[in-house]
């Protein structure tokens, strides 16, 4: 008797949980990580370390000279087993651009278009086994659009 009761309660509460899911899909956007600050501080806020380990197992594909600063195509690829991916632009007002947590077997690969305030370094950071690894490239802004 007790058991039936439990199953019914369980079913009802999981139904409630599911009906809430569209909003539960969103974790709180962390204003702390996306603060306007120098790059070292942004690393510290988002990663808890200001010096991730350099790794050659991460690749950033970006144009060495970008013609439109408001649309710089960036691709990040890693061969490390990754739990989370980050992208920073050193001289942007808000250095952190993109942060993504991977679940299941998502391939550590992403592509997006970003805005850059001026010529600067781009940093891609990967969290693998609790450690942060990074690599960087320099992107020269040829024409200023924004």
């Amino acid at each position: 008797m007790r058991r039936r009761q439990f199953i019914v309660t369980g079913a009802v509460s999981s139904a409630c949980f599911l009906s809430m899911s569209p909003l539960n899909l969103f974790g709180a956007w962390s204003a702390k990580d996306f603060q306007q600050c120098p790059i070292e501080q942004a690393f510290m806020a988002a990663l808890g370390t200001s010096a991730p380990v350099n790794s050659d197992q991460i690749t950033i594909v970006a144009p060495p000279a970008a013609e439109d600063s408001s649309l710089v195509p960036v691709q990040v690829i890693s061969s490390l087993k990754s739990e989370a991916l980050y992208l920073f632009a050193e001289k942007n007002v808000t250095p952190l651009i993109f942060k993504c947590t991977l679940q299941g077997n998502v391939i550590p690969w992403f592509s997006l278009n970003i805005k850059m305030k001026e010529s600067s370094a781009l940093y891609a950071v990967v969290r693998s086994g609790g450690t942060y690894f990074m690599t960087s490239v320099h992107v020269e802004i040829v024409a200023q659009a924004c």
Partner: protein, 102 residues
């Protein structure tokens, strides 16, 4: 308010290539108009992707993403898999779409 986004997912040799386009102004909040008045920040800032109901990606975006954010991801999957994609901007407008892997 729920607005539409474009989602395209295609499988090729076991890997799904997912493309997401969110039509959005994506103002960073640091630009000024002709009068020198700061244009307020208005950008897509978080999102999630689920595959057959299981969470796949949790995404957070800063103000430096280009207008009409165009995001691409890759993961193992097969044709017919169901994807749900949802994004929220900083004014809490919801953008969502469902797609089937082709």
């Amino acid at each position: 308010m729920i607005s539409s986004i474009k989602v395209l997912a295609m499988e090729e040799s076991g890997i799904v290539r997912l493309k997401i386009i969110i039509p959005h102004q994506n103002e960073s909040g640091t630009r000024k108009d002709e009068q020198g008045v700061v244009i307020p920040a208005y950008f897509v800032r978080e999102g999630s992707v689920t595959l057959n109901g299981a969470p796949l990606l949790d995404i957070e975006l800063g103000p430096s993403v280009s207008k009409d954010p165009f995001l691409q991801f890759r993961f193992p999957g097969k044709k017919g898999d169901a994807l749900k994609v949802a994004f929220l901007d900083n004014q809490n407008a919801l953008f969502s779409a469902e797609a089937v892997v082709l």
